[in-house]
């Protein structure tokens, strides 16, 4: 643990030096964007459809700029719904990145950020084609995804005409605990985690591309007992875009979990046949797969299938099926998304959700990469 801590501090000091934080000052204003999302939704969770509720979903404030010729900084503040007036603005991401000037084309990042783990984890909810988070992501990574304090390094591997990137992260580990519903994940001490991702990008034709990624993450999910988890994640994204008016996206991720645990998601201790507490070895998994077809430039229609077990049990599983329609009358925003989802957790009745999401983006928020 001390070695980790030493590396983290050395990394932070090195990055502070490289990013020039505190040494230089930009003369231009940073790019500032404000992206709110609103929601009208109803579900039949209590037997019949509730009266549609119109609520504020989330506000993202995105501030981005170069710090100097070598580095950039990103600040993403969020105000979660539904309380718009009394809600508290939080820091979703706050990081500096060294984008050039390091040997071997190394890129470094430090701060709090969405970890380069899997495919959808890096994408903010306003850029999803659907309204809800895939079940496997929510169950294994939490509502905020894998988003943690850490230091990240990435390199492009020398694979000729094939773009291949390797990213390695040293994380504080808090996000994994939060994903499991544990408020205090540290037990008084940081519970470090490591994450890595290898991704390759294939240009299949002038109009179609494929990205394939393999990620892994390990850390202590129960620092009191030093119980460790291991995640492996396989993802892909295929995009066919014959014109600026039409495109088809196919994307999916499969996550495999292996961990030692002494309690379930509700913190009920595992007991053996004699009623004594026991430590179990759990293997579980989850996946989602979606297709999104953009037609006539301003409309998109898609469907998603989710299936997921729980980080603490193979038997605690659920599946969901969703269809969604997007309407973007001018450009990417403002936009409207109509979403229907049927979710069926094991052992209980299925729940139907109908949601209409409205969003806009004020400011020069940059396009999301492939």
């Amino acid at each position: 643990m001390q070695t980790y801590s030493k590396f983290l501090w050395m990394g932070l000091l090195l990055l502070l030096r490289l990013t020039g934080v505190g040494l230089t000052q930009t003369t231009a204003n940073p790019d500032i964007s404000v992206i709110p999302r609103f929601l009208i939704e109803t579900n039949d969770g209590n037997g019949k459809f509730s009266r549609p509720d119109y609520s504020f979903e989330e506000l993202e404030v995105v501030i981005q700029s170069y710090l100097n010729p070598y580095s950039k900084a990103d600040v993403i503040l969020t105000l979660p719904g539904p309380d718009l007036e009394e809600g508290k603005l939080g820091v979703e991401e706050l990081f500096a990145s060294v984008v050039r000037g390091l040997p071997l084309g190394l890129n470094l990042r430090f701060g709090k950020y969405r970890v380069d783990y899997g495919k959808i984890n890096l994408v903010h909810p306003h850029a999803w084609p659907f309204v809800t988070q895939p079940l496997s992501q929510e169950r294994f990574l939490g509502e905020e995804g894998l988003n943690d304090l850490g230091v990240s390094a990435s390199v492009l591997l020398p694979t000729g005409n094939l773009y291949t990137k390797l990213t390695v992260d040293l994380l504080r580990g808090a996000a994994i605990g939060e994903a499991a519903g544990i408020e205090d994940t540290t037990g008084g001490n940081p519970s470090y985690a490591n994450s890595a991702r290898l991704t390759s990008f294939f240009t299949l034709s002038d109009y179609s591309d494929l990205e394939v990624g393999l990620s892994g993450c390990t850390g202590l999910h129960d620092p009191y007992h030093h119980d460790r988890f291991y995640y492996a994640n396989l993802d892909f994204k295929y995009k066919y875009r014959p014109s600026s008016y039409t495109s088809l996206v196919l994307q999916g991720e499969y996550l495999f979990n292996k961990r030692q645990a002494r309690q379930d998601r509700e913190f009920n201790s595992f007991l053996d046949a004699d009623g004594n507490p026991e430590r179990r070895s759990i293997r579980s998994s989850g996946f989602y797969l979606y297709a999104d077809y953009q037609f006539k430039k301003i409309y998109s229609l898609g469907a998603r299938y989710d299936w997921s077990q729980s980080p603490y049990s193979q038997d605690d599983k659920a599946r969901a099926f969703a269809v969604f329609l997007g309407y973007y009358p001018v450009e990417e925003t403002p936009g409207l998304r109509l979403h229907y989802q049927n979710t069926k957790p094991v052992g209980v009745a299925s729940i139907n959700l109908i949601a209409l999401q409205a969003l806009f983006s004020l400011g020069p928020h940059k396009a999301h990469p492939f």
């Binding site: 984008v99 773009y163 990137k165 008016y245 001018v330």
Partner: protein
């Protein structure tokens, strides 16, 4: 041992002599001009195909890979390629010389104030300056300046190639101007504000755009206004780039005597435009035939 050293020296100098200036351009037009200058001493690639809208380009890792090993990245500038900085950063190429070719251009339509109510207005002016072929000389000067920083010994070769090309282009400009002379003062409608420099050069008048504001999709009310305008102004041509939908333009054409024509803003936008001169040949001959 001595023979081995001599062989190695010859081998290394052969590799050095074969080293080409590696250039990546945003547009195919710039790629063609660079090839004309660099001949066999330049290796050129581009990001945006001729049939793609250069304003909206998805950030793909493959583009970053193209820039990773490049010496020079040539851009039109004036915020046409708003996506370019993300590709440059993603390339991790510290030695890359990013060249904004708009520096010495005479700019049109520079707004005094910019906000989103005006649509996608470029705050430094209309960036489609490469569609006036008289700007080719200034463009090529900038390209040569960038290339000789990488390969100073090739300056005479680059300059000789450029002069030969510009001579050929000057003759074509005279020919194109003669073809279009009868149509000076003719009114046209364009889909997007891509043709301001082109019209300015040829003395054409752009009556309006199919887009109500730059980058904003056609609306029924604006289309109705254009039908009225086309009837009153005896407008014969509606220019639509290969990457825009023909729907609204064809609706105007059906109600008026105007014809919809596909002109290309970039090399490769249509099959008949494999290079810059062929592209201008195609655009001029198609437009002249429509206005006739």
């Amino acid at each position: 041992m001595k023979r081995l050293l001599i062989f190695l020296l010859i081998f290394i100098s052969a590799i050095a002599a074969d080293a080409k200036v590696r250039v990546v351009t945003t547009l195919t037009d710039l790629a063609d001009l660079t090839r004309q200058i660099g001949g066999d001493r330049v290796q050129v690639d581009f990001i945006v195909r001729g049939d793609q809208n250069p304003h909206f380009v998805e950030i793909k890792p493959s583009y970053m890979l193209k820039l990773k090993s490049a010496d020079i990245f040539l851009m039109i500038g004036m915020e046409l390629e708003m996506w370019a900085p993300q590709i440059v950063d993603g390339s991790r190429n510290t030695k890359l010389n990013v060249v904004d070719l708009s520096k010495n251009m005479q700019k049109l339509e520079v707004p005094s104030r910019v906000d989103a109510s005006q649509g996608d207005v470029h705050r430094f002016g209309n960036p489609h300056y490469w569609l006036d072929p008289r700007n080719a000389r200034a463009l090529m000067e900038e390209i040569i300046a960038a290339m000789i920083k990488v390969s100073p010994n090739d300056e005479p070769y680059f300059r000789a190639n450029a002069e030969a090309y510009l001579k050929r282009l000057a003759a074509k400009i005279t020919e194109w101007e003669a073809t279009m002379k009868p149509f000076v003062g003719s009114k046209i409608i364009t889909f997007h504000k891509s043709w301001s420099y082109f019209s300015n050069w040829l003395g054409l008048i752009i009556a309006d755009q199919v887009e109500p504001k730059p980058g904003i999709p056609p609306s029924p009310s604006h289309t109705a206004e254009l039908i009225k305008l086309a009837r009153q102004g005896n407008i014969k041509a509606i220019i639509v780039e290969p990457f825009y939908d023909l729907g609204a333009a064809e609706q105007i054409a059906r109600s008026t005597s105007a014809n919809v024509i596909r002109l290309t803003t970039s090399v490769g936008g249509v099959d008949a435009a494999p290079d810059y001169i062929a592209m201008m040949d195609y655009n001029i001959s198609t437009l002249a035939a429509t206005l006739r």
